[in-house]
Symmetry: C2
Subunit: 326 residues, 2 copies
Amino acid sequence: MTTIKDVAKHAGVSVATVSRVINATGYVHEDTRRKVEDAVKELNYTPNEVARSLYKRKSRLIGLLLPDITNPYFPQLARGVEDRMQESGFRLIFGNSDESKEKEKDYIQTFIQNNVVGLISSTNDPDSSAYTSLDLPVVFLDRIASDRPSVYADGREGGRLAAQALMERGSKRITILQGPQHIRTAQDRFRGAAELLEDQAIDYHVVRTESFAFADAEKWARQLFDQHPETDGVIASNDIVATAVLHEAIRLGKKVPDDVQVIGFDDIPLSSLLSPALSTIRQPAYDMGRAAAELLIALVEGTPVVNRTIQMPVAFVERDTTHKKR
Amino acid sequence: MTTIKDVAKHAGVSVATVSRVINATGYVHEDTRRKVEDAVKELNYTPNEVARSLYKRKSRLIGLLLPDITNPYFPQLARGVEDRMQESGFRLIFGNSDESKEKEKDYIQTFIQNNVVGLISSTNDPDSSAYTSLDLPVVFLDRIASDRPSVYADGREGGRLAAQALMERGSKRITILQGPQHIRTAQDRFRGAAELLEDQAIDYHVVRTESFAFADAEKWARQLFDQHPETDGVIASNDIVATAVLHEAIRLGKKVPDDVQVIGFDDIPLSSLLSPALSTIRQPAYDMGRAAAELLIALVEGTPVVNRTIQMPVAFVERDTTHKKR
DNA sequence: CCTCAATGTGTAACCGGTTACAGCCATACA
DNA sequence: TGTATGGCTGTAACCGGTTACACATTGAGG
């Protein structure tokens, strides 16, 4: 490995001068600069980030903590984050937390040990001491921390949109799958939907669900049609759960959307490929990832930030599990 | 941030002794050890990995380079890698290459600058100088580099299995979607299928395809039924492409599997959720990720390795886009 | 001709760890 | 009693950069 000393020797200058050239700081004579640049090129030198990071107590690394990259919603977030970070020369250290506090703490610990300059996390508990006691810039992604930087979609509005879509398309006996209690964004969606249905004095039922995993979702889908067989409209807590509902409905010989309409949440890539294609509330996951990255970069670089919490818009995506409107 | 000096002062010993305690090296008196351990606990000290890494010229970081985490096949690989690495205390620096050599080089560069101890890559060109000139352990994942460590599925056998499955289930006029020419694993699948059909003297056509993206796949699906309308069996280059074929078949009013059978490759999570659910050749993506991680760890730690190239088994997964066999 | 500021460069300390080496003490053994 | 040996600890060099500071040179202005 070639070091700054090699370059200095090769160019016949001191390491300080080489450092000045590669960082474009201080005074360097034009001729000297050229000599150094030639040496750098000739020796194919690139500075060791570790040494830099040690002295500066800052790296170009960002920690990214997601519950599970295997869940089809998260790759899009991750990609958005990565693309934006890459544009500004930051790299990602990545971890799956499996929603376990233990793992989260573990990762945060090693992130710090590696001098990351910031952290993007989709945690269920932004108020845990693991985060509050951190003196790193943190941005919460797809999660809400009232007074701290976060980027999330307008779940409340999403819930309303879903309820309204079903209503307008003739569903009378709606069942809402509530989504995990400990995930604030899921509860916002639920509240949005429930709220609107109550306003409109529409009859609805609620089925509690505990996770977003498909295997569990099948169970709740069964339970849904078991307990509320008269249901003619389902608002699922996300697209995975909606898919399970769709399958169960078909298994029971119900026609979708004629016997029962289904709406999901997220608009993961899968949704448009199902048959019937899933109507859903779209979250702009990729853009959310980018926005979070952008926000974090501003925080890291000390650029003044006007909006520390960014709420992204959601939209109803009409496909084939809901009636065409007129 | 508390440093080793703080701990040393607090415990009334030298930094060397503290270092010995936390690394369990050299001689340390039992009483001293306890004092140091207490100080560590009290100050909540964890060693700075960056400083360590600088002196040792080795970190606990691994580079992971995938084409696109947004493609549903890769998260499973990534997760496998991550889980195994995590078990041995390694962290991942992650990047999407988009199959661009430029980006690959860029990432490899910064991986090196961060003293990663190894690299796992799904590159299309393992023989590029970017890899051959590297003096880091590299494991190629889902890609084949004849003489260098790699983990991949048996595509040839997969192709054969696919062809055989269609044949046994009565397809007479089979079309194979060839898959990108520059991806060796895709060509192996193709060759396996073509091989078997030739052996059995079965009539088949080939449609060339250039990528795995869904948007492109729709185009080729159209082309397929356009050029070879009599096709009664399709071997797709992967599940994404198979999904597009499935959609096109349904759009054309063809019954699947009665008019045309379809087989994919990969068995991504999506496949079982489609209706009809997609029959496919399964690659054990998660396990492949784990295996690659395991191999790399052995390489990094200098453990003797017997098999530097690991070929994982594939299997036919019978679902609803092929006839049930009797 | 003197002074001062701007330009240009090198020396050495520093970041936070690891480790070679030297030195000290206690015990064992001749 | 002298000496070798093992146990234990501290000092300081080192990893590869950055930067404070000192110093030299040059040209402008009085």
